[in-house]
């Protein structure tokens, strides 16, 4: 094809993902070592996860339960029988020189996940999701006398390798999508939704470092090969050269890496060159992807059945294990049950912690007040401070107390938000202490009544104006009362009290 012909081609981007998520269990997948990474290297290991001779793996029931929950959430089928395989490759992060994973009978097959992107609802197919063990973590280091941290470096500049097996054996779920994504923005929206669902299931902790790792396949095809319903023939996909981008560890990283990769491939195609089928490494700092030396092909992994692990027959667990209400269902229920707007309901169901907290507050007070305080005030102030709901999770009772102060009319909503909530977040004090310190308690009825009487007595001109029919004079008197009470009285109430006094 000439460069000119190439330039005129309309291209479509095709992306598929392999998402690795760490499952939130107490212990590793094949041994009783804790999954708390710990600061000190090699302090959570045993003969099994160090791959010492003779050690035997025994599967963690909780990891299987988590996998079944994920299967239910993505509407996958759990096959009658599922087995484990050894994937052989030599790298120091694998103490056994093989990784125990699943091959031809993964625990979850043929699922899907719906998410919304730019206002449209999209559904992406999930080919499979399987259990496997996480490798250990590697540091590349240079010789020298300084502290280790100052000598860790990139793989190309290293003199030697240091390995920590604390992570080795942490249960992972690898979720493999169909090549259903058409642009990097969709990938980001999907990952956000996936993480939300996994957190709702209680099987995943997004705040844990390295808990989400993504490999993405990207290829370009002729736009005319995409059918009207968005499907693409298998043969077209097979024929397209694709790159696999590794080392992506965040939603934003996925979008950046794939946007870079799509435009890199487009430039090649448009200048009449071919895209090499290869593995590329995402460099988060530079926002680009770099070709890696060729790795093993599938057949080189010499997969074979892990004879130390008997087969699993857990398809009936799908009926036995309950999963919590998922974000979409909960959002719809919030709209109908609490009469919230779609927008408010979406905000309130964005994480399980927020949704649970909202429901607790709504039950004690009322839904409108709860929605305002959780969705608008709390999330707004947290967002402004780059804080997450998990940062204040252990202070929910204090925040509820603040809502109670407003609900009981003990402080004004304005003071509650602009002073109390902000100081709670900035200084860590409890609401009552702040109300006392700042003197925000609404002045009691008697004191307001006295201030009203004093304002009338001290301002005969304004009273005369009001009695002559100048309704604006009342505002002057309200101002006087507010001044006397230090702003803690309720202006509406003061207005009524004044009128009652003057009209009476």
């Amino acid at each position: 094809m000439t460069a000119q012909a190439a330039e005129s081609r309309e291209l479509a981007t095709v992306i598929g993902l392999e998402v690795h998520v760490q499952l939130e269990t107490e212990t590793k997948i094949f041994c009783g070592c804790s999954t708390d990474g710990g600061e000190e290297p090699n302090t959570n290991t045993c003969p099994v996860c160090l791959g010492l001779p003779g050690a035997l793996p025994v599967l963690n029931e909780a990891a299987v339960e988590s996998a079944v929950k994920i299967g239910k959430a993505i509407d996958a089928s759990i096959p009658e029988e599922t087995t484990f395989h050894r994937k052989n490759y030599y790298y120091p992060d694998l103490p056994k020189n093989f990784q125990i994973t699943q091959y031809d009978s993964p625990i979850c097959q043929d699922g899907e996940l719906e998410f919304s992107h730019e206002g449209d609802s999209r559904t992406v197919g999930i080919r499979r999701a399987h259990l496997e063990e996480d490798p250990g973590s590697i540091k590349h280091a240079r010789e020298g006398t300084g502290p280790l941290d100052s000598r860790t470096t990139g793989i190309d500049r290293a003199d030697y390798t240091l390995v920590d097996y604390n992570r080795a054996g942490t249960p992972l779920m690898e979720i493999v999508t169909r090549p259903d994504f058409r642009d990097p923005g969709e990938v980001r929206a999907f990952l956000e939704k996936l993480e939300e669902v996994l957190e709702y299931l209680g099987v995943f902790d997004a705040t844990r470092d390295g808990s989400l790792r993504i490999d993405a396949n990207l290829s370009l095809i002729d736009a005319e090969d995409v059918h009207d319903d968005g499907s693409i023939d298998e043969a077209v996909l097979e024929a397209a050269n694709r790159t696999e981008v590794k080392n992506i560890s965040s939603h934003k990283g996925a979008e950046t890496a794939l946007a870079f990769e799509a435009s890199r491939q487009k430039k090649l195609v448009q200048s009449g060159r071919e895209v090499a089928q290869e593995t590329r490494h995402f460099n988060e700092t530079h926002g680009n992807t770099v070709g890696m030396r060729s790795k093993e092909e599938e057949k080189d992994y010499r997969y074979f059945r892990e004879a130390d692990l008997p087969a699993l027959r857990v398809s009936h667990w799908k009926e036995d294990i309950d999963i919590p209400e998922l974000p979409d269902a909960r959002r719809d229920r919030f709209v109908s049950e609490y009469d919230l707007s779609e927008e408010a309901a979406s905000k309130l169901t964005s994480t399980k912690q927020v949704a649970d907290f909202f429901e607790a507050v709504a039950e004690r007070f009322d839904a409108d007040l709860a929605a305002t305080w959780v969705a608008d005030e709390l999330l707004g102030e947290l967002n402004y401070r780059d804080m997450l709901i998990t940062d204040v999770e252990d202070r929910f009772d204090e925040i509820e107390r603040l809502v109670e102060l407003v609900a009981d009319d003990e402080i004004t909503a304005k003071n509650a938000k602009e002073t109390v909530l902000r100081e709670m977040l900035d200084e860590g004090d409890d609401p009552d202490a702040i109300v006392d310190r700042e003197g925000l308690g609404k002045t009691s009825g008697d004191a307001v009544q006295q201030a009203v009487a004093a304002a009338i007595e001290e301002n005969p001109d304004a009273v005369a104006d009001y009695e002559d029919g100048d309704d604006g004079a009342i505002n002057f008197l309200v101002g006087q009362v507010m001044g006397k009470t230090g702003g803690s009285a309720d202006p509406g109430e003061v207005n009524q009290l004044l009128r009652a006094e003057l009209d009476g």
Binding site: T27, C33, N42, C49, A141, L148, Y160, L162, D164, L312
Partner: protein, 92 residues
């Protein structure tokens, strides 16, 4: 099984996967030895078929932590270590 089952390129490939450096003499020697080893498996053809024992299924353990090894114990067999890590050659 004839000796042509394994050729020197295959030996080089396997050595490469195992990150083992072989010189030409070794490649030649291992080519023969690989073929020998594979031929031993022919012996299995002579084993009479037996009924397979019923396989175990669903062997699992509860999610409870067990005391593992201390850092010193974990590193005891390591030829080299540094700052609590296993230490090895650089990798590519």
């Amino acid at each position: 099984m004839s000796e042509s089952v394994v050729d020197p390129d295959e030996v080089r490939h396997v050595a490469d996967l195992a990150r083992v450096d072989l010189d030409d003499d070794e490649v030649e020697r291992f080519t023969e030895q690989f073929a020998d080893i594979l031929s031993y498996f022919e012996t299995l053809d002579e084993v009479p078929e037996v009924e397979r024992e019923a396989e175990l299924t669903n062997v699992m353990r509860p999610d409870e932590t067990h005391e593992g090894l201390s850092q010193d114990e974990a590193l005891e067999n390591a030829p080299d270590s540094e700052a609590g890590h296993f230490k090895g050659p650089k990798v590519s």
